[in-house]
């Protein structure tokens, strides 16, 4: 606040912009399209596909042009120090909301493990629920569901000490390499910035490769699927949304890498870099939670 008392650089309020409305139309197409494809009543499926596709195109277009514009505005020196703080707060609170999104799924996992499965198995306060499926035994991982005719439990679960451990090492080292890259950028050492950044991208991509491999094994060999009872449900929703975030993060890192190679950012001014780095560290932390609570325990 105090910095303003001296000379005040006007806060940049962009003039009219078509990005928001196009982005809204694209969300509409995505939502309506996805719902139509999923429900597929009366051949709305085809129309749904078209809308979904349109939505993606529009979204892609908006994201590219919006970020290009922001980068250009930043280069033109339109952004004051105060504006920079706005971006920082904005990104920070966006990540907080993402944390809460994962919190919903972690909460579901804990509730199921601590309450609902034991109750169904006749343990604890509401153990009377055992009368629903007498003989059901509470266990975790839940290999036999209360009603195996509806939900056939998994034959096996993923061994945490193979792919998941490897993935943990990959992600944690990617956080380190990203920090090294950031350090290098602060020192204006662009070669090492790019090298470490590229290494980070590769680590992210390798992580994703192993994640796909793991899913493939889960489906083909372990019988661990989305419909394998609540173990499969929680396993896939948590790892799936995490994987999605890693994918997005990797793409963003790649964009940043391109921008670094094009000579953008200075040792002092590189908020886009930092924002993506925050995001990446956040994704990393979520993974540690997953590794502990989904895979090991």
């Amino acid at each position: 606040m105090d910095s303003q008392t001296q000379e005040y650089q006007e806060y940049y309020v962009p003039t009219q912009s078509y990005f928001p409305i196009v982005a809204s139309v694209s969300l509409f197409c995505l939502a309506f399209g996805a719902a139509s494809v999923l429900t597929a009543v009366e051949n709305t499926g085809d129309m749904g596909m078209i809308m979904l596709f349109t939505g993606f195109i529009l979204l892609f277009f908006v994201i590219i042009s919006w970020f290009t514009k922001v980068a250009a505005e930043s280069r033109d020196g339109l952004y004051s120090a105060q504006m920079d703080v706005s971006f920082r707060w904005g990104m920070g609170w966006f990540i907080s909301s993402e944390v809460m999104f994962f919190a919903a799924f972690f909460g579901a996992l804990f509730y199921i493990r601590v309450f609902s499965v034991p109750w169904l198995g006749g343990e604890g306060d509401k153990g009377v629920s055992n009368m629903l499926w007498e003989g059901f035994v509470s266990q975790w991982p839940l290999m036999t569901t209360p009603d195996p005719s509806l939900f056939k439990g998994p034959a096996q679960v993923v061994d945490p000490w193979h792919i998941p451990l490897l993935n943990t090492i990959l992600l944690i080292s990617s956080s380190l390499t990203l920090t090294l890259s950031h350090k290098a950028l602060k020192l204006n050492n662009r070669t090492w910035t790019s090298i470490w950044l590229a290494v980070t991208v590769v680590l992210g991509a390798v992580f994703l490769y192993y994640q796909v491999l793991e899913y493939h094994e889960a489906y083909t060999e372990l019988g661990l699927t989305l419909s394998a009872g609540v173990y499969g449900s929680t396993f896939f929703i948590l790892t799936g949304f995490h994987g999605l975030h890693v994918t997005i993060g990797t793409i963003m890192l790649l964009c940043i890498l391109v921008r670094v190679l094009e000579g953008e950012f200075t040792g002092k001014k590189h908020f886009a870099f930092e924002a993506v780095a925050w995001y990446w560290h956040f994704v990393d932390v979520v993974w540690v939670g997953l590794f502990i609570f989904v895979y090991i325990l």
Partner: protein, 555 residues
């Protein structure tokens, strides 16, 4: 000064102006200069594209407010259909399934389409002016937050015309009603909710960033107007709970289409889990709908009592504690669902605790008025009704919070009476009050005071006729969400329906008044209200397109 029943004229105001807003040093001169400058360079764009492409907080605020008014009318029509069916026992007007769709859509539209956007609209209009900022912190994002809403609600409304009808599972969409037994359109509903969530989260980020980063020099946190404070806390709540809502509808989507069993006990899940997650979002959500209202009332009462707000800092702390407590009381909606005894006790006592900070607030409002020189213009009338009627809703909430008693009250019309007392004369009245209070600042013209008063009294009477009898039928055991009911409830229900129509149609007066106020010239002064205090009153009426291009100094 005048007794208040008459219109306060511009001339009278000008004489009073010398007083309280002087502390904002050099503001007048500065802003006048700026209006000149900005009018030439970037006033509003011409034509319809102004609204699609705008980045201006006032334009966006207006769009939010109009959108919310439209939704209020749509949701209101649905409510009137419900009330018409309930006028008499038996089925005469609509079929049960359509009745369920109407109650569901009414709830969803009022919560997400009317109340929340109205508050966001007010935030957009007022927060930059109140903290001395040029605009919201992230203007393009701001416009995106708005434009998502019309699209989300068109999807929502379209479901009514789809095969199997629209959502019919209540605004709380409990699984398995909303999963296993839902109409196919539930998928559209899920994606519409996702869109609203995105909109709310971005809106909340914008509010937080604006408040934390855009305050004029000297505008310390503990000098912020209470409307700004309550919105800051509301925005935190939004950021923390909207993602939870997104999470829970995602799990529904997975259960419906991808074979998971989160809410299906056959696979080891639990339908009660749905309720826990929903209410972890839902209870903070009800505070999202009331905290900004607290802020508005805390602005209006001091103005018309011509006294400073009593206990400013205690208001701030009370609001924060309410926000904190709202995260640990959610299961008071689930007393009858089968929780361990320890849970029942914990949630009962935690809920009752909320009455303490709420009581602090009511006490402060009353103390502000104590020995003030009060006048009763329309905004003040609404604010006063708010204090009284919201307290009634708070007290019935306390009754519901008593777990053993709630076994009797739960899912009866008593609950309906409770939340309508907090939502209609609470949230809606505060929005009305805010509209009347700031209309002269927005449009530059005074509204018709007499018509405003008539609108108030009709609404006040209508609301009480509608909702008070619901306490009685509820205590006597009439269940909620039913199209038909036992004969002994007939009289009170007929009364309720009459009240509902009275309330509904009186709102037309409001619309008429607003439109006239925009059109007719009845020039308002800068100060507008004699006792008004704050940066927004240092700007001309109507407020210039860009408020404070250069931050004013606040002492």
């Amino acid at each position: 000064m005048t007794t208040g029943t008459e219109q306060i004229t511009a001339a009278e105001i000008e004489t009073a102006e010398a007083g309280q807003n002087e502390s904002f040093e050099g503001v007048q001169a500065d802003t006048d200069k700026h209006t000149d400058a900005t009018e030439h360079h970037h006033g509003p764009a011409k034509g319809i594209s102004r609204w699609f492409f705008t980045t201006n907080h006032k334009d966006i605020g207006s769009m939010y407010l109009w959108f919310s008014l439209v939704m209020f009318m749509v949701g209101g029509c649905m409510a009137l259909m419900v009330r018409t069916e309930l006028f008499q026992p038996g089925l005469q007007f609509i079929q049960p399934d359509f009745f369920n769709q109407m109650t569901t859509m009414h709830g969803l539209i009022m919560v997400f389409g009317a109340v929340m956007p109205a508050f966001v609209g007010l935030a957009n209009w007022m927060i930059p002016m109140m903290v001395g900022a040029p605009d919201m912190a992230l203007p393009r994002l701001n416009n995106w937050s708005f434009w998502i809403l019309p699209f989300a609600f068109s999807i929502m409304l379209m479901t009514l015309f789809m095969e199997g009808g629209g959502p019919n599972f209540g605004w709380t969409f409990y699984a398995p009603l909303s999963t296993t037994f839902a109409p196919p359109s539930v998928t559209y509903f899920i994606f519409a909710v996702h869109m609203m969530g995105i909109s709310s989260i971005m809106g909340a980020i914008n509010v937080i960033v604006t408040i934390l980063n855009m305050r004029a020099p000297g505008m310390d946190m503990m000098k912020l107007p209470l409307f700004v404070w309550t919105w800051l806390i509301t925005a935190f709540l939004l950021i923390l709970v909207m993602p939870i809502l997104a999470g829970v509808v995602t799990m529904m989507l997975m259960d419906i289409h991808f074979g998971t069993s989160f809410f299906n006990a056959a696979g080891g899940g639990d339908p009660v889990l749905f309720q826990h997650i929903f209410w972890f979002f839902g209870h903070p959500e009800v505070y999202i709908m009331i905290l900004p209202a607290f802020g508005i009332v805390s602005e209006i009462i001091p103005t018309f009592a011509r006294k400073k707000l009593f206990g400013y800092s205690s208001m701030v702390y009370a609001t924060s504690s309410i926000a904190f407590l709202s995260f640990i009381v959610w299961a008071h909606h689930m007393f009858t669902v089968g929780m361990p005894l320890a849970g029942e006790l914990f949630f009962m006592f935690a809920t009752m605790l909320i009455a303490v900070p709420t009581g602090v607030k009511v006490f402060n409002w009353v103390a502000t008025m104590f020995r003030g020189s009060m006048t009763f213009e329309t905004p003040m009338l609404f604010a006063l009704a708010f204090v009284v009627l919201f307290s009634i809703g708070g007290f019935s909430g306390l009754m519901l919070a008593i777990a053993p008693a709630d076994f009797q009250y739960h899912d009866t019309y008593f609950v309906v009476a409770h939340f309508h007392y907090v939502l209609v004369p609470g949230s809606i009245f505060s929005i009305m009050a805010a509209a009347y209070y700031w209309l002269p600042k927005w449009t530059g013209n005074y509204y018709d005071e007499k018509m405003g008063k008539i609108h108030f009294w009709l609404s006040f009477i209508g609301i009480n006729i509608t909702f008070f009898p619901m306490h009685f039928v509820g205590l006597a055991g009439m269940p909620r969400r039913v199209p038909d009911y036992a004969l002994q409830f007939a009289d009170f229900n007929a009364v309720s329906t009459v009240g509902a129509f009275l309330f509904g149609f009186s709102q037309l007066l409001f619309i008429y008044n607003v439109v006239c106020c925009i059109r007719k010239k009845n020039q308002a002064s800068k100060q507008v209200w004699e006792g008004a205090y704050g940066l927004e009153w240092t700007l001309p009426s109507p407020a210039p397109y860009h408020s404070f291009t250069k931050p004013p100094k606040v002492d």
